[in-house]
């Protein structure tokens, strides 16, 4: 292999190994170590200088105390389950809201499409934190939504929305909507319109043509969109802590509090390890799907 090519591969590869892969190994190591010695400044358990002997004593010192601790306190199980549930429900809601928007974009006149596309991307460029914050003022008890509902006479007492799960759903659907719209739009836009005309010529109604032709052909976009919403939402921290109040349990928030408030690093690492294990399968499936899409494009 010529040296230039080697260098080209080694620089980004080395960077990712050092700052992406090795950190996970360290998290795993700390999750498996004792609480007392890992509180900063903690002593490293693996003594590389001691060679094989050091490695053996490292294996001997490993313990699963932190993981046992997680199974004993039902807070953690509830947080994992609640995160999975919130991610699943909000992915479905985002799909139901996002699909018609993507569909309408793909069916609009070609000269309109770049503008519509920019309107979907623009919120993505604006700060995530600010977009979540915007809902705090709308959803609070004296907020605009309640003022509006009281004014129309639909309700007589203000609703409590902020600091509930409903607010978390609204926040997630709002901030992740572009991630659902864009991949679905990309597959729908490529769709050959003559297929639909053929379906209608062959006696399909417009609805059954949609169901038999358009929907199956947009499946790869739907899958990509669902992954792009589902996977990051599981570990979400900003939305539950600003809109969910103390009552909403999500694992990202638990990890944060374990780390910053309780300062229990080994337990925080153990929480991260289990979260990662939950995410490994959807992440691999996501990567497979992306690979398949790329091969289909070529």
């Amino acid at each position: 292999m010529n040296p230039r090519r080697l260098l080209l591969i080694l620089v980004p590869y080395g960077w990712l190994l050092a700052l992406f892969l090795i950190p996970f190994v360290i998290v795993l190591k700390i999750a498996l170590s004792d609480t007392a010695i890992s509180i900063p400044p903690y002593t490293p358990l693996l003594d590389l200088a001691a060679g094989w002997e050091g490695f053996k004593s490292f294996l001997g010192q490993l313990d699963f105390e932190n993981f046992v601790f997680l199974t004993e306190d039902d807070l953690y199980w509830k947080a994992y389950l609640s995160s999975l549930q919130i991610a699943l429900v909000s992915t479905i809601i985002t799909l139901i809201i996002g699909y018609p928007i993507a569909y309408a974009m793909a069916r609009s006149a070609p000269e309109w499409r770049p503008t519509l596309m920019m309107l979907v991307i623009l919120p993505f460029w604006t700060s995530f934190l600010i977009r979540v914050y915007a809902w705090m003022g709308i959803l609070s008890n004296e907020g605009l939504l309640n003022q509006f509902l009281l004014w129309t006479g639909l309700i007589s007492d203000p609703l409590t929305i902020l600091n509930t799960k409903t607010a978390v759903y609204i926040g997630i659907v709002y901030t992740y909507l572009p991630f659902m719209i864009l991949p679905i739009y990309a597959t729908l836009e490529k769709l050959d319109a003559s297929l639909l005309e053929a379906a209608e010529d062959l006696g399909c109604t417009r609805l059954s043509a949609f169901w038999l032709v358009t929907f199956p052909l947009s499946k790869s976009g739907i899958i990509a969109g669902c992954f792009l919403v589902f996977i990051p939402v599981i570990g979400e921290f900003v939305i539950p802590s600003l809109l969910g109040g103390s009552g909403t349990l999500m694992i990202g928030k638990v990890l944060w509090e374990e780390f910053f408030s309780n300062r229990d690093w080994p337990v925080a690492s153990a929480v991260a390890v289990i979260l990662l294990m939950i995410l490994v399968i959807p992440i691999i499936l996501f990567q497979r799907n992306e690979q398949k899409n790329r091969e289909a494009d070529q």
Binding site: R4, L8, L16, L19, I26, W135, G137, G235
Partner: protein
Amino acid sequence: MNRRFSLFNVTSLTLGFAFLYLPMIILIIYSFNASKLVTVWAGFSTRWYGELLRNEQFLDAAWVTLKVAVASSTLATVLGTMAAYVLVRGGKFMGRTLFSGMIYAPLVMPEVITGLSLLLLFISIGLDRGVFTIVLAHTTFSMCYVSVVVSARLVSFDRSLEEAALDLGCSPFDAFKSVTLPIITPAVVSGWLLAFTLSLDDLVIASFTSGPSSTTLPIKIFSAVRLGVSPEINALSTIMIGIVAIGVVTASLVSKRAILRQKREEEEGFKQ
């Protein structure tokens, strides 16, 4: 085709965009509220913008954020472009699957895990947390976004152009510089912009990797917002939304003009 403007499509677009934009518009309107209470309208005023500009803490944090964003997005663009080139043109090499996995995984990895793992790395190698560690962290996750954007462009362009340059006696590096780079430049630029905004926006990873002397703007906003909604934050948000809107609109106008010019040149070329 009359179907393009069917009632269903128009309704879903209108409702969809209203949902996406109304919260931000409300935020902007209320940033000009004279009242200290965010929910009560008491007339137009720019008072909160004045108070914001006198707030040293926010200004310091904004400066740190900008420095981090420029440094990390530039570094991420170089590394991300290299990674994209390796992914698309690298051929087979040992550990290729691991490499492409490491490119895609950070895109969906929860930020709390990335932040925690980087912090534990910095502590175990004894690196003091500060601007430098935030730059390292931001470069790592945004280089993956850059490489996805750039590799999409690399995949779609005609490889024979590069081969022609090589046949005509260019060294591989010269071929890259004079053929490949100009073609992928739009993707590289949008990759840089993406990395820049990701860095400006990041709260979670910066919280883990910043030190006491290096607070970024999102960290500052987050701690202010946790205490409740404040008109000063509304003003700050409006400024940030405004900058982004101007940036994106300018960028799209520039690229539209470039496309038009290219089209015109091609048409003139055909005539000759």
